[in-house]
Symmetry: C2
Subunit: 356 residues, 2 copies
């Protein structure tokens, strides 16, 4: 394996000491950056940006030119997978992602194609190869996918939803259709993540954005079970690649998530890291969990809240600093710099060797 | 106090034995009922429905004519309070509530009026008096308000939001403006709830719909502290009126909520009632927590999920059955009947006296 110039992120995932807490930012490449908006305007639309390796590479690298971050994450979208399954993804103004052909009946689940990511999502692998080349070992590259449950909610609802009526109908219709759908998504996702590792992704993250809308029993049955399959599959084929699981609003289930054997659990800002740490134990790293809304604040409040997050985790080498969810669109990039500098300045104190 | 024909709901709040688990449904008067849609169409718009006591009374009683529910809740909206504070509430098609004059700066907070609910929200008290008369002691009547934090989010954002950028900006701007806003809302809410009791409300509920978007420290500081003030104030003036607090996505903070001294804690469906019961202890009743999405299901799945909720609470007299959030618009009213009958049939088993 290529020697990394900055391996803090991978060291924490592998339970090795670091000099300070590594950090990256969920959605670090995105609409809050003027250079991203410029590239996106040139590309014409979001899908062109995702599916053109040179452009995906460019926007992946943009935040790393501004900020001293400890990881890159390939610019893509969790909905490229259902798009490759034939649902016809497009983005409507002010509406977000919309599928032309949502999946709502057992018959539609039955007919659904399981694509070969190596060919049908080849543009993601090409982007990963190009980004690795451009990064030249400066920081590690994260690959990712949506959790099967989260991808399924988009596939069934067809667009953003507040009540998730279509997928809850499918869940409670007395047929095994939803499990069949989740099986198909899981198989595709496993192949997709393996292809990302083979192309050069050095760590993986699974985003379970909608696990938190489920009851505990349904969460275990419809979301966690399928993330477990992913952990097991990656563990059997690519045991050296650490996987982070992140269920938004999953604070009550952190112990269950850690028990999958994942390397790291992502945490939103609705739970203290001290309590999260108790729940996951010392065998699992934690990633998070500054409220993205703090970045609307003043320099003093941002520094104060960064300190609170570092203190809530406390001493120890298993913390990756991040926001508790993706960065918002209207954040001032200068405020991100304040956060990054605060982590650099304040976190070494939590990595002192124990005094004898 | 008037003798109630069905006092199960109040008995559970007062820790007295009942023959079966009482139930009511959050948003039980609403858009899933054809008779509600008819009355609303006749009224012309939602605010006319709220502010005309005869119409508010009519829709309050509609679900009780269909279903054997154990409580009525006055038909109103948590945003009548900020409307009375001068923000200019209206409802836009497909958009939900919108305020003409949102509150976003310390100056705007300063200038905000604190209305006298007895006069400026008199239509709610008139509706309560009329409903009590029409109910004629059949079931108790619940009054309600939004939590100060939740009302503040609407007042500051001005409309529904995904990122809550305006209120988080106000929270982290280094000024005490948000606390001043919460103080004003809390004072108004206390006066409003006291007036509701004086008009005839026999129990109160405080809806903290957006407490779950906060970090634990911010939740205690910006939401729970102000609900504590309400509990204390109602306790000092109307100690016999039980108050239920409900924070959506507040599963991790149930112990803190119960510690306010509220009579009952509302629980959404993301936590098992067994765990919730452990957290709140036996001195506090629990209300909830069927996933509203279950009502899209078949008869068999609805009955199964009702049974799961009853079993998760287990034996004991401190459970009020409800959904974990408001009923959805597109639910078949017949499915509600299935749920109600299931609670009636299955819950007596959990109220057997201990065998000797």
């Amino acid at each position: 394996m290529q020697q990394m110039k900055n391996d803090r992120f991978l060291r924490v995932l592998n339970n090795q000491p670091v000099d300070r807490t590594p950090l990256w930012i969920m959605r670090q490449a995105g609409r809050y950056l003027p250079e991203y908006l410029k590239t996106r305007a040139e590309a014409g639309d979001f899908m062109t940006l995702c599916s053109t390796p040179e452009l995906a590479c460019e926007v992946t690298l943009q935040p790393l030119r501004r900020y001293q971050l400890d990881a890159a994450i390939v610019f893509s979208d969790i909905l490229t997978v259902p798009d490759a399954m034939g649902l016809g993804l497009h983005f409507e103004q002010g509406e977000g992602p919309v599928f032309a052909r949502p999946v709502r009946t057992p018959e539609q689940v039955e007919q659904l194609a399981t694509p070969d990511p190596e060919t049908e999502l080849r543009y993601v692998m090409d982007a990963i190869r190009l980004i690795r080349q451009e990064l030249d070992g400066s920081v590690p590259l994260i690959g990712f996918a949506g959790s099967p449950w989260t991808v399924a909610t988009y596939m069934v609802e067809g667009r953003g939803s507040k009540e998730y009526s279509h997928i809850k109908r499918l869940m409670h219709d007395g047929t095994p259709a939803l499990h069949q759908l989740l099986d198909k998504i899981t198989a595709t996702t496993i192949a997709y993540l393996r292809a990302q590792i083979d192309a050069g992704a050095q760590a993986l993250m699974v985003f379970d954005t909608w696990g938190g809308i489920l009851s505990p029993a349904n969460y275990r049955q419809y979301s966690l079970a399928y993330m477990q399959s992913i952990i097991d599959a990656i563990g059997s084929s690519h045991a050296d690649t650490p996987v982070t699981l992140f269920t938004k609003n999953g604070g009550m289930w952190l112990g269950d998530i850690a028990a999958t054997g994942c390397a790291c659990v992502g945490v939103d800002w609705t739970i203290d890291l001290a309590e999260a740490r108790t729940r996951v134990g010392e065998q699992t790293a934690l990633q998070g969990n500054l409220d993205p809304g703090v970045l609307y604040g003043t320099e003093a409040t941002i520094r104060h809240e960064v300190k609170q997050v570092l203190e809530s985790y406390g001493n120890g080498q298993r913390h990756i600093f991040n926001l508790g969810h993706g960065i918002h669109q209207h954040i001032d990039p200068d405020n991100v710099q304040i956060m990054v500098e605060a982590v650099h300045e304040l976190s070494p104190a939590f990595h002192q060797p124990a005094t004898i």
